[in-house]
């Protein structure tokens, strides 16, 4: 399936990656090549097959639902690009 530049722009937006307009045609072409490769999957008869949800038969391990962590604000914030007054700081999100 050929991907046009509008679709490439929409996907970039969904992925929250800024792509300049002049880069969109090349990106669309790359997507088309990769999706063309993926399209081989349409040859496979998958009738009656369930999509794999776990590669090993085991059930996901569940821990007890108890508080076992916390009270380490400084460590949580230690790597933040912008932390103020005990919070992660971001540009204004509410007008």
């Amino acid at each position: 399936m050929a991907i046009d530049t509008d679709t490439a722009r929409r996907v970039a937006k969904l992925a929250r990656i800024k792509v300049e307009d002049e880069a969109l045609p090349a990106l669309a072409q790359e997507f088309s090549a990769i999706l063309g490769f993926i399209e081989q999957l349409n040859e496979v008869d998958v009738d009656g097959i369930d999509p794999m949800t776990s590669v090993t038969p085991q059930r996901l391990y569940r821990r007890d639902d108890v508080v076992n962590d916390g009270d380490q604000q400084a460590r949580v914030l230690a790597n933040a690009p912008d932390a103020r007054e005990g919070f992660f700081a971001v540009p204004k999100v509410v007008e």
Binding site: E30, I34, L41, P81
Partner: protein
């Protein structure tokens, strides 16, 4: 004792226990070799202070007689593992400056066993690549060289492979999502095993595709892989996909006796246009296992052809979800924003600056295949094909096959930059023999067994039954002994 860096883990362990060498001496020898090997660009964050402190502690334990196998052994750690207080960047700009406040389960286990960390190893960005050329640190270089060209050590665990092959460390950790341990191991003439999915905890390892990612050892020989794998393995309540299954002594499984074992040769792995030397390597390996008393059986894995396309839906889909966390808020890089920019612009600029082109491409492909209207056509279909790929293997194992022998890679190492103009799919073909194993969650090991016409190493892959890494390592051990691959790269760096 000279050339301490050339020791295997097993030999170093025995020498340490006998008091013939100290961990401090081994560590110093490795640190010296690392400093002389900057041209390989394998170690990207050196940690000599950590190494010296850990080796001093290990020497005390050795003296006290409390010495697990890895006590005092200097290792390299792939940059994908979070190591407390030490840069852990997944070779990405977006994690620049990130120093984890915690230690991954694997490195915790290694350090508890007395292992010494020499530094962090180069890799493809977020483990996405097969040549170590997508790294923010620049290319890692293969110590093997046959002309003026610098060759790739493979990827994504290219720094790990280069470091082990060049004797900069005694062993290294790697991770493997589609072949990222086995392909670089084959390109550099070393051994690497990807264990069964769930054998090794993923906690604290930067996630790429969570249903495929597994960590494993990269070492100088099969015995060392057995030793290091045992230390990395085990149930971890912090990883919900970790398996609560006992870890056997893999080294004890190395008897070299494979009489009566059934080795499957899958016909679908004989690709069109396969180079004659790969074909020969494979048939030579088959003959070696037969001579060792194994029964050789032709088998069929009919959905093999669809493994790569299924992988290139599932892995990007999972990556797009996992990498959503890199938003410039909690850790890593944040883009400078312009007047009037809001939080969306901050996300978009941060991710455009922080992710390299291959990572951006895969995140966007993943976003596309998961988007409304395409989820069933791409993602669900790929997961159904994945179920069929696994069923192929289940069938073969149910019919009594113990292990499967295939080539590890379609060629020997290629030159850095040679694939720059190729379309991405050409690079993806590097994983054609390895990716099925991740999709089926099976253990797979690459063993060096020969060279190409120019003298570059080539490897074969053995694929085992789930949870039977011991048996698999034993077949690999038998193959290793028969092949007698002992060549080392000439030092040019």
């Amino acid at each position: 004792m000279t050339d301490l860096t050339k020791l295997t883990i097993a030999a170093a362990r025995d020498a340490l226990r006998k008091g013939e060498v100290t961990s401090a001496e081994l560590t110093t020898a490795c640190l010296t070799a690392i400093d002389a090997a900057d041209a390989l660009n394998a170690f990207v964050h050196k940690t000599p202070d950590v190494a010296q402190a850990q080796s001093a502690a290990a020497d005390q334990r050795l003296q006290a007689g409390d010495a697990p196998d890895l006590c005092g052994i200097p290792l390299g750690i792939k940059d994908l593992f979070c190591t407390k207080g030490v840069p852990s960047q997944a070779a990405s700009r977006i994690l620049e400056g990130f120093r984890p406040e915690y230690e991954s389960t694997v490195t915790t286990q290694l350090f508890d066993a007395g292992a010494v960390m020499l530094g962090k190893l180069n890799m493809d960005e977020f483990a996405m690549g097969s040549s170590n050329e997508t790294s923010v640190y620049g290319d890692a270089v293969n110590p093997w060289k046959v002309d003026d060209r610098k060759l790739t050590p493979g990827g994504s665990s290219g720094g790990s492979a280069s470091a082990v092959a060049a004797d900069l460390c005694l062993g290294a950790t790697g991770t493997d999502t589609g072949g990222s341990i086995r392909q670089p191991a084959a390109f550099t003439g070393i051994t690497g095993i990807k264990p069964t999915y769930g054998r090794v905890s993923r906690w604290g390892i930067v996630a790429f595709a969570s249903s495929l990612d597994q960590a494993g050892p990269m070492t100088k020989d099969v015995r060392d892989s057995a030793i290091l794998l045992r230390a990395m393995s085990g149930f971890d309540p912090k990883d919900s996909t970790s398996a609560d299954i006992a870890v056997p002594d893999f080294e004890a499984a190395l008897t070299g006796d494979i009489r009566g074992k059934v080795i499957g040769i899958p016909r679908e792995y004989r690709m069109d246009g396969m180079p004659a030397e790969i074909e020969k390597l494979w048939s030579d390996g088959t003959a070696m296992l037969k001579d060792a008393g194994a029964e050789i059986r032709d088998i069929t894995l009919p959905h093999t052809k669809y493994a790569l396309p299924a992988y290139y839906v599932i892995a990007p889909a999972e990556a797009s979800s996992n990498l959503a966390r890199y938003d410039g808020v909690r850790f890593g890089h944040r883009a400078r924003i312009a007047q009037g920019d809001g939080i969306t612009e901050m996300y978009e600029k941060t991710r455009a600056e922080g992710f390299g082109p291959e990572v951006q491409r895969r995140v966007m492909v993943g976003t596309y295949v998961l988007s409304a209207g395409f989820y069933d056509a791409y993602y669900n279909r790929a997961r159904k094909v994945r179920a069929l790929i696994k069923r192929d293997f289940d069938q073969v194992f149910a019919d009594g096959v113990d292990a499967i022998l295939t080539p590890a890679t379609p060629s020997a190492a290629f030159g850095l930059g040679e694939m720059a103009d190729a379309d991405p799919i050409k690079m993806y073909l590097n994983d054609v023999f390895t990716v099925t194993v991740n999709l089926a969650g099976l253990p797979g090991i690459a063993v060096p067994t020969g060279t190409d016409a120019t003298g570059l190493p080539l490897g074969l892959q053995l694929i085992g039954r789930p949870w039977e890494e011991g048996d698999l390592l034993n077949v690999a051990y038998s193959l290793e002994r028969a092949a007698g691959f002992v060549a080392k790269p000439d030092r040019w760096w």
